[in-house]
Amino acid sequence: MVNVTLDGKKIQVEEGTTILQAADKLDVKIPTLCYHPLLDPYAACRVCVVEASVKGKTDLVTSCNTKVLEGMEVKTASERALKARKLNVEMLMAQAPAAEPVKEIAKELGITKTRFEIKDPNEKCILCGLCVRTCTDVVGAEAISFIERGKDRTVAPPFNEPSEACIGCTACAYFCPTQAIVFEDKYGREIIHDELHLGPVTAIRVPIRQAVPMVPFIDKDACIHFKTEQCKLCEKVCEPEAINHAMEDEVMEIDVGSIIIATGYDIFDAKKNAVYGYGRLDNVLSGLDFERLCNAGGPTGGNILLKDGRKPESVAILHCVGSRDRNYNEWCSRVCCMYAMKFAHLVREKTGAKVHEFYIDIRAFGKGYEEFYNRLMEEDVIFIRGKGAEVTDVAETPEEEGKLVVVCEDTLLGLVRRVPVDMVLLGNGLEPRRDADEIARKFNIGCSHEGFFLERHPKLGPVHTASDGIFLAGACQGPKDIPDTVAQAGAAASEAMAMADRGTFELEPITSFINEELCGACKTCVALCPYTAITFDEEKNVSVVEEALCKGCGTCVAACPAGAATQHGFDDEEMFAEIEGALSVV
């Protein structure tokens, strides 16, 4: 520990502390420009100069890089220090008149205008080197540097041309204290830290605000460290040392007794059906978009707003987007009617806007659902029986100007109607997961023709699959709402538990075996068995079937040239008898 006196106040700090850090502990403010706590001190702006005396020797030093010494006496605002500081700030005012931080410090120091020649009144760069140091020391890309010297010094990429070395991380702009760096990518590469837009913005983030557990993660594709092997600023600032860049994705093998597949569903992409204008017209939102908009943790804090920030005065909700539609998915997605009606309720409650629901049929089939439907009608939600045919922003009448128009055939009135609204919400249907095929193959289960996983029996085995020990739960098996999913999941869990709890496993009595007397030791069967259930006994010179491994496909039986391989329940005689029997009927 080192004892120092700073502006008359005594303080004990650790060895290696800089004057600036010591001053910070005493809440003494020393202005800085080129200093950043995460970067090595550069000592170039000379604004943080202070007067420091040690052992009778007094000097003007920069506080950002000068380490305190035992018995040092520091005056942060002595006449000498202030004189130099003021002049340096005044000179910077002339060099970069548009730099806000310089203006602020000048104001604090009581400087109103500079006496020196101003070359460019719009200049913002104060040549503090934070960008260059960030690019070199932190990012490791070395895409920008100082070029020229003295009064001609500027920050630039090599040869003053857009640099291939630049990884587009925008860290330089982030560190720039004066916003002198403007980012524009000429190679069309991804800009990692695009702070200007909503959505995923940084390489470290929590997945969503309600995420459980609420733990941030590093997005490897966006993280600078995984591009240049440098940076690691997060490691520096994380006091509990919780960040480990060396961590790798791990493939773990876990032995289990049974598996429940609950891979869920994909939402129908409304862009596929261009008539709804999703992704093309403003204020046409998918069901999930609207959920995000409504969410108290969402971008508007739960306020339902149009893109321009206004509150909507009328909202249309379209049912069966991608469902019950021969062009897309033929099935009913089961949940859309109810969530569309929930949206209507939320819109009414939060904005009081007029709500139109465009439906084919209302399928309020669950407990309390029909009552909810009735309640909505009492809440003055307008139900129009007719599937939304088109959403357009082309106005045909003055009332439609600046609005979205939903076109539909009202089947109750027998009219084609045009309904102008401010916002359109789509009731997107449910689809099987894109990779359902792959999963099905992996687990040896089937998919029904629409792509949802196939249960063993629609009535007698709704959570079972064709493979023993593999069960289904939720929308991966077919569209269903939350209560149904919970019920199915419970059933699947108990089936799985029952199997695991038994501790033993019953094999179907259809395994193969080999008649040792007939076996000619050709080993054909050994190579055929997909389960390596057949081994060759060298001593006895015959093939042997391990019954626990045999799944009973019978491939070996059909292939055995000696007729030594036989399958319980499917031996040749039995098969022949069956064939005879099948053909004996006239």
Binding site: A466, K551, A558, A559, M575
Partner: protein
């Protein structure tokens, strides 16, 4: 007996996981297809020994359908590939014997393809109907004769 009134008898060997379930689905889906095919369930199409086909033809079947999982989807990983190999060889042999190609068929029908199952049965029934009844004894006779001729000419097969 003209072909229009002829009702062929066809034996089907169906794998338990895909085709049999697919046939089940066709049934539960109330799909209509000819009743000429008698299904025999095996665990895997890989169990279908070519002798089963010969046996069926010998016992009076006019046609045989082997149905299994789609390639890559076999419940037993690779059984249907074995079937495919055996079926190709069997076709060559049956041709040499003088059995028309259309009488024995291999089809892939998955558990979700009830409609396909119905279609496949329809197709094979129609095809075999056109071919008429299989004269198995004739086939055997002719084969014996050919063998004898070969023996006379002292040709070694």
């Amino acid at each position: 007996m003209d072909s229009a009134n002829f009702e062929p008898r066809i034996v089907g060997f169906l794998c338990r996981w895909c085709s049999y379930t697919g046939a089940d689905l066709a049934g539960t889906s109330r799909m209509k297809y000819p009743p000429n095919l008698v299904p025999i369930r095996v665990m895997c199409s890989g169990r279908v020994d070519p002798t089963f086909v010969i046996k069926a033809l010998k016992e009076g079947a006019d046609g045989v359908l082997i149905a299994g999982c789609h390639p890559g989807d076999c419940h037993y990983t690779s059984g249907n590939f074995r079937t495919l190999g055996r079926y190709t060889l069997l076709q060559i042999m049956l041709e040499q014997l003088g059995v028309e190609k259309g009488r024995v068929k291999l089809e892939w029908v998955s558990a979700s393809e009830g409609d396909k199952w119905a279609r496949v049965v329809k197709e094979i029934t129609e095809e075999v109907r056109k071919l008429g009844a299989l004269n198995w004894d004739g086939v055997v006779e002719q084969t014996k004769q050919e063998v004898a001729e070969c023996a006379d000419e002292k040709v070694k097969i």
